[in-house]
């Protein structure tokens, strides 16, 4: 393959990836910040009574991890029993939209603003 063909192929592949990104970017519920997907209304109604959805959105866990959190709230924090169907829907939603992600032992630093430092001394 010549270089220019290779570049064109790469651009094509990248644009496909980009389009995929655009399509799969989730819609966000303006009121709660929750990702709009199958089950989010259940989460909205069952899970934002005591605390805001922020506690959910900032977190990531496996299905098992989410279940553990729910059981902890039921055992100690006054969360009522959910029907098997509701629990299933909520767990599936959480595990899909807020899945556990691998972070490694230390992530790269993220710098929001580089700035020229005027040293005081």
């Amino acid at each position: 393959m010549s270089l220019s063909v290779r570049v064109r192929v790469m651009i094509f592949v990248l644009s496909l990836l980009f389009a995929q990104q655009l399509v799969s970017r989730p819609n966000i519920d303006a009121k709660t910040g929750l990702i709009i997907d199958q089950g989010y209304l259940k989460v909205k109604s069952e899970c934002t009574v005591c605390h805001s959805a922020k506690l959910i959105i900032q977190n990531r866990a496996t299905r098992e991890g989410w279940l553990k959190t729910i059981r902890w709230m039921q055992d100690t924090q006054g969360l009522h029993q959910l029907t098997a169907e509701t629990e299933e829907e909520i767990l599936t939603y959480l595990a899909k939209n807020y899945p556990s992600e691998h972070k490694g032992r230390r992530a790269n630093l993220i710098v929001e603003n580089w700035y020229w430092l005027n040293q005081e001394q």
Binding site: S52, K54, I57, Q58, N59, G78, I110, Q119, Q121
Partner: protein, 439 residues
């Protein structure tokens, strides 16, 4: 790392639900018919305090209106009496942390101390009517004191004491732990004034079988269920009876802010801040380890023996966190600094070590390959953080990270990577890092 999605500013709160934002941020409720004005003085007071000016036509101010002074700032301001740069980790219940560069003061100003609420703070606090009850099976006589009696009957002490949330740094654990995603700023070291817990307990007679104290506060559970306490933790007698363990009413010489426990709180410096109960209304002296809310299960506990990341750990294999581990921060410069090649960089910050003191602080600009010793000051008193300072040369242009690493008086150092994973994500004391570019 700082998770962008958790940053939530005043604008976002007002966009979501203006009247709710009024209530969350300022405790404001409008007059129900006109939807204007302030139903409670406290809301007006909070908003005026944050604006730094009183609001002459407050009665006409419509509900849900973002104060103009904040309307065109992108800084995330949130909580009455708190610095606009604080980052809200959770808005209900309120939790907010302070970015490292805002912790530069030797003594943390009240507006820069983090907030970790477990419940809904009490409203309409009247310090003149506030009572503290002392009870429990291991105190000779039960008693109650008004705030005024506490101040009159016992000697006052002022100490600078470090308090840090046990979950500070949780956001770095892998696999992630589903709870408040604190980065580095759930720590501070203001001066606290109050009476010694020891003096109060000894005046009533501590029984020989006393093991632990527990506290209760007037905040309520977020579910609204009155049968549940939001949090009721405590410390063993040895910590309770230390000179520096205070029942405090003042921070930096003035009444403390509502969100930090006004009018009365415990302060147990060097231990998880959850032992320093806020809105303090009752202390119990127990003949066993206190079993209040968040003393049991996995809360504020770590595996007694190290576990593989992501493990299930049984309750009985978990041990209560006592002293916090050695740790440090770079508070100047702010991360992202650019300097010219050949310039020296001045750096400074604080270091602390739970019940111990800090014996050395070192910095590195080569990812820990070599370390340079910093100038380190003595603490103002036991359990206060210590200030360090250094000047660093850079070998040439490029991207650098400056890392800081403290060593405690028993010889333990901060790790450079995230330490042992635990089910609730406590005690991450990995060294703090900032990014620097030399051009």
């Amino acid at each position: 790392m700082k998770n962008k999605s958790i940053l939530r500013g005043i604008h976002e709160l007002y966009r979501d639900n203006p009247e709710k934002a009024d209530q969350l941020i300022w405790g404001r409720e409008v007059e129900p018919v006109s939807r204007r004005g302030f139903l409670k003085k406290s809301g007006l007071w909070a908003m005026s305090a944050a604006l730094g000016a009183h609001i002459p036509f407050a009665d006409n101010m419509p509900g849900g209106l973002i104060p103009a002074a904040f309307a065109d700032t992108d800084e995330s301001f949130h909580i009455p009496g708190k610095h606009p740069g604080l980052i809200v980790v959770n808005d209900r219940p309120v939790s907010a942390e302070t970015p490292a560069h805002l912790l530069d003061d030797l003594i943390t100003p009240v507006d820069k101390l983090f907030i970790r609420n477990n419940g809904i703070p009490p409203e309409n606090i009247d310090p003149a009517a506030w009572m503290l009850r002392i009870e429990g099976e291991s105190i000779e006589s039960h008693a109650q004191f008004s705030l005024e009696e506490l101040k009159r009957k016992f000697k006052h002490y002022t100490y600078q004491l470090t308090i840090e949330c046990a979950g500070n740094g949780r956001s770095e654990f892998n696999p992630p732990v589903p709870e408040g995603q604190w980065t580095v700023g759930a720590v501070g070291c203001p001066e606290w004034t109050g009476v010694r817990l020891r003096d109060v307990l000894e005046s009533l007679g501590i029984k020989d079988d006393a093991v632990y104290i527990g506290y209760y506060g007037r905040d309520t559970h977020i579910s609204g269920k009155s049968s549940l306490d939001s949090i009721s933790r405590g410390v063993p007698m040895s910590k309770a009876l230390e000179d520096e363990t205070l029942i405090a009413w003042a921070m930096n010489g003035a009444d403390m802010p509502a969100m930090n426990g006004h009018p009365l709180r415990l302060v147990c410096g060097g231990w998880p801040a959850s032992t320093s109960g806020k809105w303090l209304s009752k202390i119990v002296v127990r003949n066993k380890i206190h079993d209040g809310a968040k003393m049991t299960g996995l809360s504020y506990k770590v595996p007694c023996h190290p576990v593989e990341p992501g493990s299930n750990v049984k309750d009985e294999d978990m041990c209560i966190i006592e002293s916090m581990p050695v740790k440090s921060l770079i508070t100047y410069p702010k991360t992202g600094a650019m300097i010219k090649a050949g310039q020296k960089l001045s750096l400074r910050g604080h270091a602390w070590a739970g019940d111990l003191s800090v014996s050395a602080v070192d910095i590195s600009n080569d990812f820990g390959a070599t370390w340079q010793r910093c100038k380190l000051r003595q603490p103002k008193n036991r359990l206060a953080w210590q200030h360090w300072q250094a000047e660093l040369d850079f070998p040439g242009p490029g991207y650098y990270e400056v890392w800081v690493r403290a060593t405690d008086s028993a010889g333990k150092m901060q790790p450079m990577v995230v330490p042992g994973w635990n089910p609730k994500g406590y005690l991450n004391n990995a060294c703090h890092r900032i990014a620097v570019k030399v051009t």
